[in-house]
């Protein structure tokens, strides 16, 4: 008997195979990244410009470190998938990355052009992470449909 391969449905809330434990194992660092980014970029950094540079740098970079650990746990989880699900997940991940990059770049250009106010210029880390997650879910549904 072989070990059961990882399934994308295990981290999709509401699906039959959903497991909160697996979801946290794979996406736990994304929550850390979102929370530290939100607290740092919304509450701390804009209102405490007098804090030491080192402290401000740590607050600004912690979400990035958490994001890298999130990427690592996602890659480990993908390694445990069977070939079909790995292919679908890879396609969805590329789709999510490119779509997020497109949106963030487009937003930046629109702010530079004066279409949006400058407060939209700060492409906050927590917004970027949520964009990636939303586009991943969309991409997974698109690429998975072909094999159902």
């Amino acid at each position: 008997m072989n070990i059961k391969p990882n399934l994308p449905e295990e981290i999709e809330p509401g699906s039959l195979h959903y497991s909160f434990r697996t979801d946290m194992k794979v996406n736990g660092w994304s929550w850390v990244a979102v929370l530290t980014s939100f607290v740092g970029e919304v509450f701390w950094l804009p209102h405490h410009k007098d804090w030491p540079v080192a402290a401000r740098a740590v607050i600004a970079l912690v979400p990035l470190l958490a994001s890298l650990l999130w990427v690592r746990s996602v890659l480990q989880w993908m390694r445990g998938m069977d070939e079909l699900h790995r292919r679908i997940t890879q396609a969805a991940t590329v789709f999510a990355t490119v779509a997020t990059l497109f949106i963030v770049t487009a937003l930046h250009f629109l702010v530079v052009a004066g279409v949006f106010p400058s407060r939209f210029q700060s492409t906050a880390g927590f917004v970027v992470i949520w964009l990636v997650v939303c586009f991943y879910i969309l991409g997974h549904n698109i690429f998975n449909r072909r094999y159902q």
């Binding site: 008997m1 072989n2 070990i3 059961k4 391969p5 399934l7 069977d82 070939e83 079909l84 699900h85 072909r146 094999y147 159902q148």
Partner: protein, 65 residues
């Protein structure tokens, strides 16, 4: 690519889940192969062929089985 995996599996009276467990993939993957929506990798094709004690060419073909 055509294949006769469904017939072979039915001959053994296995469900798609049974076959998936035996070759270490998900049930959806077996279903996608049987419905010819997905062509398996060479290692997976070898696993399936070994399980049924057949050659790859006897299971996976360009024409009908």
């Amino acid at each position: 690519m055509k294949n006769c995996l469904r017939e072979l599996r039915a001959g053994k009276e296995w469900t798609q889940s049974d076959l998936a467990d035996k070759v270490g993939v998900s049930r959806q993957t077996i279903n996608a192969i049987e419905t010819e929506k997905y062509d398996p990798s060479l290692p997976l094709a070898f696993k399936v062929a070994k399980l049924f004690k057949l050659s790859i060419e006897e299971i996976f073909k360009h024409d009908d089985c």
